[in-house]
Amino acid sequence: MLFSGNEAIARGSYEAGCRFATGYPGTPSTEILENIAQYKSIYANWAVNEKVALETASGACLAGARSIVTMKHVGLNVASDPFMTLAYTGTGAGLVVVSADDPGIHSSQNEQDNRWYALMAKIPMLEPSDSEEARLFTKKAFEISEAFDLPVLLRVTTRISHSKTVVFPEEPAVVKKAAYPEKQINKYVMVPANARRARLALEDKLQRLAEFSELFSLNKIEQGSTDYGIITSGVSYQYVKEAMPDAHILKLALTNPLPLNLIKAFVERFKKILIVEELDPYLEMQIRHISAGIHGKDFIPSIAELTPEKVREGIKAFAGDVRSPVVLHDESAVDVIRRPPILCPGCPHRGLFYQLSKQRSFIAGDIGCYTLAYDEPLKAVHTCLDMGAGIGQAMGIETVMPRGGKKPVAVIGDSTFLHSGMTALLNVVYHKSNILVVILDNRTTAMTGAQANPLSGTDLYGNPSPDISLEQIVKALGIHWVKTIDPYKTKLVEKTIKEAVAFEGPAVLITKAPCVLLPEFREKRQKPYVVKTDLCTGCTICLNIDCPSVWWEPRDVKAEGRTRAKGIAYIDPVSCTGCGLCADVCAFDAIVRAEE
């Protein structure tokens, strides 16, 4: 069968007898939990954030249920607090933490290398190199976790998560059921006295793990015919095999702790060694001291994704002892007009950003589809740092800015607000910061493909969940000025933004309408709009709303007797959802709804 890495991790969890799975959506990790939901023996849910997810899984493990937690690389930053101390307490039942890293920054804000987390937290780490290994290593991860009473980090990358390769599924294991947890106070209560003891015990575990690592059967040596050796792990292994099938290779599966004796023995067989790893010199910094003949980042780039050609060039230069700096590839052969993602036709966020952009305020952004409003022509998002950051940034600006400046604005999606925005908003109230926070409530986690959140009204399985009122949450945090409006009502949006900006004190504006990816939106979809070519003056105001359905159509102006513009607007009838924003902004009544 052909599985993506994410499908294979889901399958591996099922085969390992995993009982509980949780996480927060984030590319490229999202499909793991969506696929786990198909296996009836595992209960899965979307947590409000990665920290809560890991803590919940820790509880499930205390009660004896094997558990898995999934997140993207930056999600582990959020979950790093429990992650660091779980190594001290141990987990009880097997606990696997999946970090899906994004080298090359396909859909993220950075390309941090999360292998360092394993080293820092003193937690064992496995790195699969294809889907079959993703399945197998997931099972191994549960075994190692229970054998050493430690969480295990399963570290994958975009090319593992989103590539499909052949997998050979097996039957699930029978594991013991969950039970009410025993109280082991010395083990699980990390007061300093217990934590100091746990720290010593952890050192002992690491010692045993290091010995285990030396004999671990999934660390493999492949004999070749080159006069040098290559040490690699993860997807980089595939690029090495593609570029140099005859090389001697030490392929590491368990990359924390490293099998130092195995590595030494391998290194001693060759005059020189090349370490091929994506991103940081993680392996290199730990093993370079072994021999002067060890090379790595002097030939293999440390920025962006590796590719077979980068690895091939690196190996060639290394083998020929040419010390040329590695050139980063320009991936495109020709200069092609860019085609970035933009807000969908009919997106409820568009009108809000159009009106906000007229305010001339500084607009601190956040993580979500709405970040896309940063670009031409809207240019209505001025920061994007991390989940929930915009509220703090707007508050910081307001705290120090000169008197009389435009009220700073923070825009944040519903899911992001629940993930990390609530505490920041409480800080705003506490310090009476005069900012406007706009919560874009589209009832879903849209950017990752519409996963449910506490405001969706459904859970991961589509079952109904309790009604949660965003307005009540905001009021409970101490906000007095809060209004919920329909973002498609252009005049109302404009008026309400003005009111909120004029108000002295923290204000929250909630724009509530379903994301176009949701089934509810289909009910809203209406007949498309058309341009009345005789009325359109070519003023381009409708292009400034940044709708993919509204195009500029160059025209022969002289032939048509026009004087002012070299073209007119055109609306694509296929993609237009009939939201009407373009008609609202048109000053010449040149945009009307199509007739039957």
Partner: protein, 191 residues
């Protein structure tokens, strides 16, 4: 034997399902297969590229520059984004369908002209087949571009028709149009 195919297009056009079907057919024919695409924000109308490779034993899931045997471009301009992957004597299956990228839609730039000539200039050894997608869409509203071009692609492969049809049926259980679009490319369109 090892065949590498790149499919390019615009989010929403079915780039990923095209390579899924190619992968499924190769797997059912008993070959090793790897495919790779980056989704992330593909649903927002951005450029999408997907790789599929099959043969005796496949290592890299991604395709190197100048090595692909085939390029299928579901949108004409997107062929330019994929042409760097194509080998000297590769085959390009080119859609004549246009979706203006933002800079063209906003009137900042013009949609590139003579794309087929540009492709031939970059890779003079290729064979480039232009698929008349616009005519197909006029004659058969509801037909899909990705399956039509897949039908053309299938004519260059040695698999039996039943393998293709089974994979398409499996993927698009409800849609008759997907199969009809495939057969339009497989049987009707002149190359």
């Amino acid at each position: 034997m090892l065949i590498s195919t790149v499919v390019t297009g615009v989010g929403g056009q079915g780039v990923v399902s095209a390579t899924d079907i190619i992968a499924s057919v190769a797997l059912n024919a008993g070959l090793d297969v790897k495919k790779s695409d980056v989704h992330g924000m593909a649903q927002r109308g951005g450029a999408v590229t997907s790789f599929v490779r099959y043969g005796g034993r496949i290592y890299s899931p991604i395709i190197e520059q100048d090595t692909a045997d085939f390029l299928i471009a579901l949108e004409e301009l997107e062929a330019l984004r994929g042409i760097g992957f194509v080998k000297d004597k590769g085959v390009v299956i080119l859609s004549d369908f246009h979706t203006p990228p933002p800079d063209v839609a906003l009137g900042f730039k013009e949609y590139p002209k003579h794309i087929q000539d540009q492709l031939m200039k970059i890779k003079p050894g290729i064979r480039c087949y232009k698929a008349d997608v616009n005519t197909m869409l006029k004659q058969h509203p509801g037909y899909s571009i990705n399956m039509f071009l897949l039908g053309l692609y299938a004519r260059f492969q040695s698999y039996e028709e039943v393998l293709w049809c089974a994979a398409i049926k499996e993927r698009f259980k409800k849609s008759e149009k997907a199969m009809e679009s495939f057969l339009y490319g497989y049987e009707k369109e002149t190359l």
